[in-house]
């Protein structure tokens, strides 16, 4: 048996995802995200394995993956910086910011720094117009970004100060349930109940506190 490109635990998660759907093919996009989480982008080897997992051809995987902006079929940096240039952001200086970003990273929009850390992209409305101009780093939002603010974000990312907020590219969620998709339905229900109870309790405590404050 040749070594698979997807790591064993990733492969296991992939199989679990495939099993969720009546047609294996439906798991295609989740699996692309999974592979992107492992590698930061969709490597050809990963696409070939996904094809096998869902029973289609690699060309079809590439066909689907290349359609979507969030799936990268070419190598990207650890941090993909996406600047909005749509109307609200544009009016608030998005193009100036983009220009600044190109200068300060030393790359053109659509390319990656030589050290492989930053990829710069422009985008249409990211739905954060209230904080225009805005950008995303690996799909995490940063609003009201000034040129100095941009440089600070870059510095912070380089220095690892934002490691808690921005995971490496490809990671959609950082918290995963122990046991993943294999967890029994009852456990999930119980956990949900516990969460709801905890939330209710916190709300009650907060309400009591604010009442006490009002009264006091």
């Amino acid at each position: 048996m040749t070594q698979s490109h997807l790591a064993p635990e990733v492969m296991a998660r992939a199989r679990d995802i495939v099993a969720l759907y009546p047609h294996p093919r439906s798991a295609l996009i989740p699996l692309c995200h999974l592979a992107q989480e492992q590698d930061g982008w969709l490597r050809p080897e990963a696409m070939a394995e996904i094809a096998e997992l869902v029973g289609i051809t690699p060309a079809e995987v590439l066909g689907t993956a290349s359609f979507y902006d969030m799936l990268h079929t070419e190598e990207v940096g650890t941090y993909v910086v996406t600047l909005c240039t749509n109307i609200a952001c544009m009016l608030r200086g998005a193009y100036e910011l983009l220009h600044h970003a190109e200068e300060s990273l030393g790359i053109r929009t659509g390319s990656t720094t030589a050290d492989g850390v930053f990829t710069l992209e422009d985008a249409e409305c990211l739905a954060d117009c209230g904080r225009a101009p805005c950008l995303q780093v690996n799909h995490r939002f940063f609003g009201d970004v000034s040129p100095e603010g941009f440089d600070k974000i870059v510095d912070d990312l380089r220095a690892g100060r934002l490691a808690d907020e921005v995971p490496h590219h490809g990671t959609l969620v950082r918290t995963e349930r122990d046991g993943g998709l294999r967890v029994e339905a009852e456990t999930i229900t119980a956990e949900r109940r516990a969460t709801a109870a905890a939330m209710a309790e916190r709300a009650a405590t907060a309400a009591a506190a604010s009442e006490a404050k009002a009264n006091g």
Binding site: P44, A48, T57, P58, V61, G63, F67
Partner: protein, 908 residues
């Protein structure tokens, strides 16, 4: 009224109730259309052509390009709707020429040209381009776009055969849909989005489908071009005829196009009962081999062990003299004729008559050892291809269909995938059918009959078979009726490393278990069925008649017939090797490359006193002959050919054969004269008349019948079995100009493919009458009927050290045709030995390591390949591939006297 199905996933056309019609108007004219039909097709039949790009009558509608927008009145007034995607309905009012429609067409075409390079002057499609034509006919005339067009690198090869020019692509999706829907190999797909959409392959993987040429054929622009045709011609330089491809026995109809006596390309014609538009890449591109430089062009005679050019007179004289001498010295039965499947029916008949009536030998065999016993082939109750594709249960016991009869594979795949016909595969190794088969039942080499008996009688599940597959197979067979009336069996040779009689035995077992089952013979060689029908088989005479049944009739017709049954290919080679036979004439046969037992073939040719080769190429066997006679080959001759279902279709001559090549029948006729006989025929057409007159199975298939329009797709022999009703249709239906643009455009240049060959079969005028059964002819002998005796050899017990050999065939092989076609030659794979990983592990070798394969006959070293689908104890080597220049690896191991071939795997 039928419910119009408007999803693209269910059928090629919407569901139609048999015979139900609707009334509607198109451009104000009342039209009656079939219920559920697509509007575009209904309009076309009513004489209204609606422009289109993505619609193709053999693909599912997708409504992608919007070129076919027409106005359809509905409850909310007239709206623009795609005619290729909307089904007709009662009372529908359709307008195809309104200003609104015109504006939509303008818009679509203007959009399509935004990024189109318009490099028509250097584009293969120029002159036959639906985009050019439709822009001219329906376009706005001017574009408002001034911007720079997008550019891509071009052309990019996506395989050895297909080049891609992405700039020209209009994203109709025909190619992608063909690859996915029809071929079942989605190796190409749309990549990207918006204005950056391109068709392409996955990086590092070629578009390796055997059917890739069809995408070039149906691409409505010059985005996909074929490397062999690229830049070779313009449609107005081309001339064409409609003919039949004879590279395998499926008999695809094709438009054969040429320029300056060279084949330029083949395009599949839409023959509904046969190939439905498609060709395989071998048929399409290996036709180039006729143009090859290394064709034989003059007779050769061996002098001082060197083949030297000679005149026809000299060569024929020598052949006749030597054959005559040997016949006198050793008897007529010491002379053999091998081959004949490369010939037309007429040629085959002439050779059969020469051998059996003039020379007097019955040792004549067209199947050359990799077919089935001829009596079984002619006697089994037959099914047509259409019947097979509509069977309630389709059993496949044959070589890999995609490798041996590629377009039959497409038909079977479509039956299984689109029409849910249950397919039960019985095979010694998995293949192209396995993926969609309802059940895949593996049998050990030689054990097919045993397995069939167990399956039919509800016996125990054999150890090699997965129980789930076994019960699925039993279930599917059971549902086809108690007498098996819904069963059609595709019967061929799954492996040349087991005796053909063992497969015949399995067929006999099936015919016994399911008496109403019918068979479609999957014999592979070009006109093998015609050759057998014409009597190029031991024990048979023309018309599927046995030597004994036909003796008195043919003695009257021919003067004489052989006294007793002759030998088959293996028998002939043994006879030549041990001296009981003396001479062999190989008619388009290359036993050294094709006969399963390579050692015996070598011994036989070496042991013969006199060897004659009649061929188009100096094949390995021809190179060993004493006399070589050059013959015309595909597309250089007229006549008829017969496909696997017995369909007789016309061949049209397109080229003049090079040098001094003669048609095969003429060679036979001249030889007969020099041997003191007379074939009594002066032309192809006379031969056909004689065939119709003497061959029981061909009674009534006169030239007039063959030429009638309704027989355009051929006629199945015997006539009673033909689903064709002969009508007096006067003109053929027009081509769909967008379905296969290359045919229509050449026709528009004044070269209608249907004009037929250089030699019209009907002689003078249409007043020709049938010559059937004239004079007072004796009643014809009856054709052989099932059952026929089958002598299956006993199966030896396997010894515990050995593994049993399986040997199938590949489409791209070391044969002369592929070899003479550069683009295909590059695709021939090297031979490997495939085995179950455990068997290889036992040996301590992995994939790619060399393994010595040894049989009682010989041994060879091949690279190992892992094949988990093979049962343990079985090794598979493709027959017609070579390794390290050693041709026919498996042929060195096979002993044709053994029922099966046991080999040992060793480290070298």
């Amino acid at each position: 009224m039928a419910d119009p199905v408007i999803t693209s996933h269910h059928a090629i056309a919407p569901h139609t109730e048999e015979g139900a019609t609707v009334e509607m108007t198109i451009d104000g004219r009342a039209v009656v259309a079939g219920a559920g039909e697509f509007l575009i097709a209904a309009a076309e039949r009513a004489g209204v052509f609606i422009p289109r790009f993505c619609y193709h009558p053999r693909l599912r509608s997708v409504g992608m390009c919007r070129m076919c927008l027409v106005e359809v009145s509905g409850p909310r007034g007239a709206t623009l709707q795609p005619a290729c995607y909307v089904a007709v309905a009662e009372g529908m009012e359709v307008v195809t020429t309104s200003d609104k429609v015109k504006k939509a067409q303008d818009g679509v075409l203007e959009m399509l040209l935004v990024n189109h390079p318009l490099d028509c002057p250097v584009c293969d499609k120029g002159g036959e381009c639906p985009l050019q034509d439709q822009v001219l006919a329906y376009g706005p005339g001017e574009s408002r776009f001034l911007e720079e067009k997008r550019h891509w690198a071009k052309p990019t090869p996506i395989s050895e055969l297909v080049l891609l020019d992405r700039e020209r692509c209009i994203q109709c999706g025909r190619c992608v849909r063909f690859a996915n829907e029809v071929a079942g190999e989605a190796q190409i797909d749309f990549l990207g989005r918006g204005d950056m959409v391109e068709v392409n392959v996955f990086e590092g993987q070629a578009f390796s489908s055997y059917f890739s040429g069809n995408t070039v054929q149906i691409c409505p622009v010059g985005a996909l071009t074929a490397s062999p045709y690229r830049f070779t011609a313009r449609p107005w330089d081309l001339d064409q005829v409609e003919s039949t491809c004879t590279l395998c026995a499926f008999g695809c109809r094709a438009a054969v196009q040429s320029s300056a006596n060279r084949i330029t390309r083949l395009l599949g014609m839409d023959s509904d009962p046969v190939n439905q538009s498609w060709l395989c890449d071998k048929g399409r591109f290996a036709s180039e081999a006729v143009n090859a430089e290394n064709r034989l062009t003059e007779p050769l005679i061996r002098r001082n062990d060197i083949l030297e050019p000679a005149s026809w007179g000299e060569a024929l004289e020598l052949v006749a003299r030597r054959l005559g001498e040997l016949r006198t010295a050793k008897g007529a039965s010491a002379i053999a004729v091998m081959g004949g499947a490369r010939l037309s029916n007429e040629d085959a008949y002439a050779w059969a008559k020469l051998a059996k009536a003039v020379i007097g030998t019955d040792s004549v065999d067209a199947q050359m050892g990799d077919g089935l016993p001829a009596e079984v082939v002619v006697a089994l109750p037959r099914a047509t291809i259409d019947e097979a594709c509509k069977a309630r249960c389709l059993v496949v016991l044959a070589g890999d269909l995609r490798e041996e009869l590629p377009v039959l594979f497409l038909r079977v795949r479509s039956a299984a995938v689109d029409d849910a016909v249950p397919v039960v595969e019985l095979a010694p190794q998995s293949g192209s059918v396995t993926g969609f088969a309802t059940a895949s039942v593996a049998y050990g080499p030689g054990e097919a009959a045993e397995l069939v008996r167990a399956l039919a009688t509800g016996g125990a599940v054999p150890a090699t078979v997965e129980p789930a597959q076994w019960s699925a197979a039993a279930e599917a067979l059971h549902r086809a009726g108690t007498d098996g009336e819904g069963i059609v069996v595709i019967l061929g040779r799954p492996s040349v490393a087991e005796d053909g009689a063992l497969v015949a035995d399995a067929a006999a077992a099936m015919a016994a278990a399911w008496p109403a089952a019918r068979f479609l013979l999957a014999l592979r060689r070009g006109n093998v069925m015609g050759a057998i029908d014409m009597g190029l088989a031991p024990g048979l005479l023309p018309g599927r008649v046995s030597l004994d049944d036909g003796r008195s009739f043919f003695e009257e017709q021919w003067g004489s017939v052989p006294a007793g049954r002759g030998r088959d290919a293996a028998g002939i080679l043994e006879g030549l090797a041990d001296g009981t036979m003396a001479a062999v004439v190989m008619v388009g046969a290359d036993p050294l490359s094709d006969f399963p037992d390579g050692t015996l073939a070598g011994d036989g040719i070496a042991g013969a006193d006199f060897v004659v080769a009649v061929d188009g190429f100096l094949s390995r066997s021809a190179a060993r002959a004493d006399v070589v006679l050059p013959a015309s080959i595909v597309y250089e001759r007229s006549g008829t050919t017969t496909n696997i279902e017995g369909r007789v279709s016309r061949l049209s001559q397109k080229l003049v054969a090079p040098g001094q090549c003669w048609p095969d029948w003429m060679i036979a006729s001249e030889l007969a004269a020099r041997l003191g006989g007379d074939l009594g025929v002066e032309s192809m057409t006379e031969i056909w008349d004689e065939i119709e007159k003497v061959a029981t199975s061909h009674t009534g298939i006169t030239r007039a019948v063959l030429e009638s329009l309704s027989a355009r797709d051929g006629i199945i022999a015997p006539l009673a079995a033909s689903p064709v009703t002969l009508s007096r249709r006067l003109s053929p239906e027009p081509f769909d100009p967008m379905a296969t643009p290359g045919i229509e455009s050449v026709e528009a240049q004044g070269a209608p493919p249907r004009s037929g060959g250089a030699e019209p079969t009907s002689g003078e005028g249409a007043g020709h009458t049938a010559v059937s059964g004239h004079g007072h002819q004796a009643p014809r002998p009856r054709s052989l009927r099932w059952p026929q005796p089958v002598a299956a050899p006993p199966l030896p017990a396997p010894d515990s050290y050995s593994v049993r050999l399986v040997s199938g065939r590949r489409l791209y092989d070391d044969g002369v045709l592929v070899g003479a076609t550069d683009a295909l030659a590059a695709l021939v794979a090297p031979a490997t030995v495939r085995a179950h990983p455990h068997d290889l592990e036992k040996l301590g070798v992995g994939a790619g390591d060399p393994v010595r394969v040894r049989s009682a006959r010989g041994d060879i070293v091949l690279d190992a390949a892992i094949d988990e689908s093979l049962p343990r104890g079985v090794a598979s080597i493709d027959f017609n591939l070579s390794a390290d220049g050693a041709v026919g690896a498996a042929a060195l191991l096979i002993d044709s006297r053994e029922a099966v071939v046991d080999v040992r795997l060793e480290t070298p």
